[in-house]
């Protein structure tokens, strides 16, 4: 079993795309890292104030370990309909 650096796909939607400067990006992460920590590392200038975060299509906490997550999405306030 290989431990340490794994890859995760980041998805930035709507206004968060402008803030992050990408809509999709693959980065390395450690399984103990949190979403908050990951954003602080790869995009330290981004305000996460009104963003929710989803891990593998489920709403998640900014402060939970990413574990073996494969997709991390940044979700501004929704406005469908």
């Amino acid at each position: 079993m290989k431990t340490g650096a794994m890859k995760i796909t980041l998805l930035a939607f709507a206004q968060s795309r402008d803030a992050f400067g990408f809509s999709e990006r693959v980065v390395e992460f450690e399984e103990g890292e949190t979403a908050r920590g990951l954003v602080g590392r790869i995009a330290p200038g981004v305000e996460i104030g009104n963003l929710r975060v989803a891990v593998d299509c489920e709403f998640a906490s900014w402060d939970a370990a990413l574990g073996n997550a494969r997709e991390l999405a940044f979700l501004p306030p929704v406005s469908g309909g």
Partner: protein, 128 residues
């Protein structure tokens, strides 16, 4: 409950109503259209974007739960994505139930839930 959820980049086409059950007493349909005036600003249209995989999952959970609560037999849900010009529909929902109260109750709650946390976004004007 029978549930169909569709996201489409084409104009919404209302599916035929399959005259299945002889126990359906009420069919309620909702269409949401893009309006020209929004917050005092004249629009040409709205651009819709979704995190489709998650939106289908979150919405499916909401609609199945509401179907249990209200007691509905079938629900069809269509959300258009991409550019939707003023006067065209962005949303279509059809609910089939035994009585009207169930369908009307479901529909009001379904739209509230859609706007609560389903990852779909609109923005004014075409992007780019």
């Amino acid at each position: 409950m029978k549930l169909d959820i569709l996201f489409t980049h084409e104009p919404i086409v209302i599916p035929d109503l399959l005259s299945g059950s002889r126990e359906i007493g009420a069919v309620v349909e909702f269409r949401g259209f893009v309006r020209e005036m929004e917050h005092g600003e004249a629009l040409e249209g709205l651009f819709y974007e979704a995190y489709e995989a998650m939106a289908g999952k979150v919405l499916g959970n909401h609609l199945r739960e509401l179907g249990e609560i209200h007691g509905c037999d079938a629900v069809e849900f269509i959300h258009r994505l991409g550019w939707v010009p003023v006067g065209e529909a962005s949303l279509y929902i059809r609910v089939c139930s035994a009585h009207r109260g169930e369908g009307l109750g479901f529909l009001a709650a379904a739209i509230d839930r859609l706007k609560l946390d389903v990852p779909i976004w609109k923005r004014v004007g075409k992007p780019g």
